[in-house]
């Protein structure tokens, strides 16, 4: 392997959900600054495997910042020191030779550790299953251009829709709140005309599921917005609140 960086990694190793887990220190020698962070871990893993040691498990898939699978908490921040990127888009040139890098899994009760750095984010799945959709069946829908939508609204809905469900918002929040994620999902559909019929039902159902999953409260620290790789705005959270209060205090439709 080519490269001239020598790093020390403090990596959380945990055999399974029941294991207590601990930090294990690894030397990562001859790392190229051109490597992505995950490629650096690949190199470390290759060396571990050669020494018949269990490689470090972590979630990853597309490695181009769109699938939302990667989820490392690096040196005290989700997705590492740079903003508006995911871990897979982070490159080793963002670190310096000799640096000690601490790598932890997302920490939240609602995201239990599966193994090492991989966590279970199925809570996000259940929240979306609770109401993150527009109830239309395949076929029998109007022509796409029959619903004109203001470009401003459409763009704003798109901004919310760029959320990749990585969970960095939860990881960053000191309260482990999922508000940014949930509100981005609620917002996208709340903004669009197609989402109106179920707007208040959706807000109630998704918030209820969010609460059930055991995420913390949003205290508006704004950490989520700063750490979000897709730069989802806090405005979404306020929009969710308006819809939720509206639903609970002024609408008759009641969802538990």
């Amino acid at each position: 392997m080519s490269g001239n960086m020598n790093l020390t990694l403090k990596v959380w190793r945990q055999k399974n959900a029941a294991d207590k887990g601990q930090f294990v220190t690894y030397k990562a020698a001859d790392i190229s600054p051109e490597m992505s962070f995950l490629e650096m871990l690949d190199v470390v893993n290759e060396r571990l495997v050669k020494g018949t040691q269990d490689p470090i498990h972590f979630d990853h898939d597309c490695r181009e910042g769109i699938c939302g699978a990667c989820s490392l908490y690096i040196n005290g921040r989700p997705h590492g020191p740079k903003q508006a990127i995911t871990t897979c888009q982070l490159h080793m040139r963002s670190f310096h030779d000799g640096e000690i890098i601490t790598i932890e899994p997302w920490r939240a009760t609602a995201f239990p550790v599966i193994k090492d750095l991989a966590v279970d984010r199925s809570a996000f799945e259940r929240i979306q299953q609770a109401g993150g959709f527009i109830s239309v069946n395949t076929g029998g829908v109007p022509d796409a251009n029959e619903i004109p939508i203001s470009k401003v609204i459409s763009d704003e809905a798109f901004n919310s829709a760029t959320c990749i469900s990585c969970g960095a918002c939860v990881a960053a929040c000191k309260n482990a709140s999922a508000s940014l994620f949930v509100s981005a999902k609620i917002s996208q559909l709340a903004l669009l005309p197609q989402g109106q019929p179920e707007r208040y039902r959706r807000a109630q159902a998704m918030v209820a599921q969010m609460d059930k999953e055991g995420f913390g409260n949003c205290t508006n620290t704004g950490a989520c917005e700063i750490e979000c790789p897709k730069e989802i705005s806090l405005t979404n959270i306020n929009r969710m609140r308006r819809d939720f209060y509206n639903a609970k205090f002024f609408k008759e439709e009641e969802i538990n």
């Binding site: 959380w12 921040r77 709140s177 918030v207 620290t221 959270i237």
Partner: protein, 261 residues
């Protein structure tokens, strides 16, 4: 559970209670401050004592004051409930946590700031509010010439086991206006002659400033109020009025009185 109580027991509902009570308490601060400005008047505490009487005896204000007490309690109790849930939401802490990279210190430590403020409130209310109501305070009599109300004659009416009655009347014989009032000003003056008390007061106001720097705008967000055109105004008011001017003026009072004596 009824639908409303269900709404208020959701995470959003609980925060709504925090936001509403917090903003109400912020509003109260403005009124409290305006009243306390009477302390700066060089009238032997007359205006201040009159104001104290008004605040404790005018019915609408009395009602509001109960809302205020309830707000303080709710704000504190819900802070506990919310914090407990937040702690439960992350039982394993990060080994390395760089919160400063993404959020302000005060926004992350509202609980600590709030606790300081709460402790201060207890001392504050014990010193003044409780004393005023049940402390058997002495009364003071102010006499002003009808043709020149600035000339004031002050007579202390020491407490001798029997509570006097607040009175305001015109003494036709002496051509004076007479006010007999409970002398809260006296204990304020006494308290603010103690250096430790002044320091406590000032430190608490600093905590209040930081608490409100986050809390004021956060309260609006919690209500769902967020508009690209008005948010900057809220942020501006939150910073300048609520986290700087109000705490600074509150803090100026004990300092002023300490050095004026």
């Amino acid at each position: 559970m009824g639908s409303l109580s269900k709404a208020f027991s959701s995470t959003l509902g609980r925060k709504l209670i925090m936001g509403l009570t917090g903003l109400f308490l912020s509003l109260f601060l403005v009124i409290h401050l305006v009243g306390n400005l009477q302390l700066f008047k060089d009238d032997g505490g007359k205006a201040f004592n009159e104001y104290s009487y008004f605040m404790t005896h005018f019915l609408p204000i009395k009602i509001v004051s109960y809302v205020l007490y309830i707000s303080i309690i709710l704000h504190a109790v819900y802070a506990l409930i919310i914090t407990a849930r937040n702690k439960k939401a992350r039982t394993v802490q990060y080994a390395q946590y760089n919160g400063a990279a993404n959020s302000s210190w005060n926004s992350r430590n509202m609980g600590i700031l709030g606790t300081i403020i709460l402790l201060f409130l207890v001392i504050h209310m014990k010193s003044f509010w409780a004393e005023y109501h049940w402390g058997g305070l002495p009364y003071v009599q102010y006499e002003m010439k009808l043709d020149n109300p600035n000339v004031v004659k002050i007579t202390q009416l020491p407490f001798n086991g029997k509570e006097l009655v607040h009175a305001e009347y015109v003494d036709v014989q002496n051509q004076t206006e007479v006010v007999v009032a409970k002398d809260l000003y006296l204990i304020v003056k006494d308290s603010f002659s103690e250096a430790w008390y002044v320091i406590l007061y000032v430190l608490s106001m600093i905590a209040l400033g930081f608490h409100l720097y986050h809390g004021f705008q956060s309260g609006f967000q919690t209500l769902g109020f967020d508009h690209v055109k008005y948010k900057p105004i809220i942020d501006f008011v939150g910073l300048w009025v609520f986290s700087i001017i109000i705490p600074a003026v509150f803090a100026a009072m004990p300092i002023y009185m300490y050095f004026a004596q």
